[in-house]
């Protein structure tokens, strides 16, 4: 029997390094590495959200970690599909920048259940881990104020994530059209079947208990929210994803 490897699919990730993130009149990202941020779309973004009191944004430059932050809900890569569905085709992603969501309610109650990271940012994050910003990254922070008690209800943290997702979509639409040749880094991943080798699965038990303790799956965009569905709404039952879907961001941590 011929036990040769079978290539089940390819994912290309093109990274565009962002050199400078500054405030500007519009939300614009350029493949050459300039990014400007404007808060003016925020009122529109939250206009249909009944759990959100208000939202503000901070740009945290690498030398500005010495500042207060509310509890951190998530750190999110800024990626979009340029071709194909999540897990296949081509993804455009930004390096040197990432998004962060923090949330507290109008009573000052932090949006957390088992421990909060509110405090001085530099003491509350171990930088340079897979799940945390690099020390040199610019952090675009979405600081959400939820209505009283909404930090402990599912829709509070969900809407906080949705604010960030809708905002990032403005950049994603621009990134889809980036000229691939201008990328600073290109990675290629293959789902490889190795017939005859030990068959192994990774089983991950993830959050499923409600409020911020949730996992969003199958969003429209990598690491996105919109279009996805919650593992709680699927009864917490197992779902299967391929290695490339996983590393392309087919899941979004809601906690």
């Amino acid at each position: 029997m011929a036990d040769k490897n079978i290539d089940l699919g390819r994912l290309v990730i093109r990274a565009f390094n962002i050199k400078a993130v500054t405030w500007g009149d519009d939300n614009i990202v350029m493949p050459s590495g300039e990014m400007t941020i404007s808060k003016k779309v925020l009122p529109d973004i939250i206009s249909d959200m009944d759990a959100v009191e208000s939202v503000d944004m901070r740009l945290i430059q690498p030398d500005e970690h010495d500042q207060f932050t509310n509890t951190i809900l998530d750190i999110i890569p800024i990626s979009t599909k340029a071709l194909g569905a999540i897990g296949e085709g081509i993804t455009h992603t930004l390096t040197g920048v990432c998004a962060m969501i923090t949330a507290v309610d109008t009573d000052g109650k932090q949006c957390h259940e088992f421990g909060s990271t509110e405090g001085n940012l530099k003491e509350k994050v171990i930088f340079d881990r897979p799940g945390t910003p690099a020390s040199g990254d610019v952090i675009i922070s979405f600081d959400v104020i939820l209505k009283s008690g909404m930090g402990q209800e599912r829709k509070g943290p969900y809407q906080a994530h949705l604010i960030c997702d809708r905002f990032l979509q403005i950049f994603r639409e621009q990134m889809k059209g980036f000229d691939g040749k201008l990328c600073t880094e290109r990675s290629e991943f293959h789902n490889i079947a190795r017939p005859g080798k030990k068959r192994v699965v990774i089983i991950r038990e993830v959050a499923g208990q409600g409020a911020m303790y949730d996992m969003q799956l199958f969003p429209h965009e990598p690491s996105g929210v919109e279009g996805g569905r919650s593992i709680i709404d699927m009864g917490n039952m197992p779902v299967f994803v391929t290695p490339n879907e996983y590393r392309d961001g087919i899941l979004h941590s809601m906690q």
Partner: protein, 160 residues
């Protein structure tokens, strides 16, 4: 207890997951994929979802599973049941989770022996430090080595 800030995995973590990188790159392994299930707040759902995951792995004819549990405390109920259900089906498993001083498993069974503690903080309280108790490459290497040993042992026992 569930997932504290030091153990929680951000969306950024998932796209750079060291466990996936390590296993998918290993030429001795045919990585079938990743099964995700939620840890419910209801006991019956915990048992149902974790048992379905084991039955699924068996349907895939998996030789082995690396099982990761984000969090501790009541999450270890599902985790322990999953390891038990895999064990009963003769699927070799290596577990990874946060235990440390305050997260020792609240339940135990015959298959809980091969669990690697990924806790890196020394105190007995949740340090509330984002990323501190996340999976590190070394943890994943240990789990994979342990799994390979168990699969080899299972082979020997089956007379292969």
């Amino acid at each position: 207890m569930g997932v504290g800030p030091s153990a929680k995995e951000t969306s950024l973590h998932h796209i750079r997951d060291p466990l996936l990188d390590l296993i998918s790159a290993d030429v001795d392994i045919d990585l079938l994929g990743i099964i995700l299930f939620g840890s419910s707040d209801k006991f019956s759902e915990k048992i149902l979802a974790s048992t379905r995951a084991a039955i699924w792995a068996q349907g895939m004819r998996a030789d082995g599973a690396v099982v990761f549990c984000e969090g501790s405390g009541n999450n270890h109920v599902d985790f322990a049941n999953l390891l038990n259900q895999l064990g009963k089906r003769n699927i070799a498993a290596a577990g990874l989770t946060v235990m440390g001083k305050n997260g020792q498993p609240v339940v135990n069974n015959d298959y809980m022996g091969d669990v690697i503690d990924i806790c890196k903080s020394s105190g007995s309280v949740e340090p509330c430090l984002l990323g501190q108790n996340n999976l590190a490459v070394t943890d994943c290497r240990k789990a994979l080595a342990m799994l390979k040993l168990k699969m080899r042992k299972a082979d020997r026992e089956r007379g292969n």
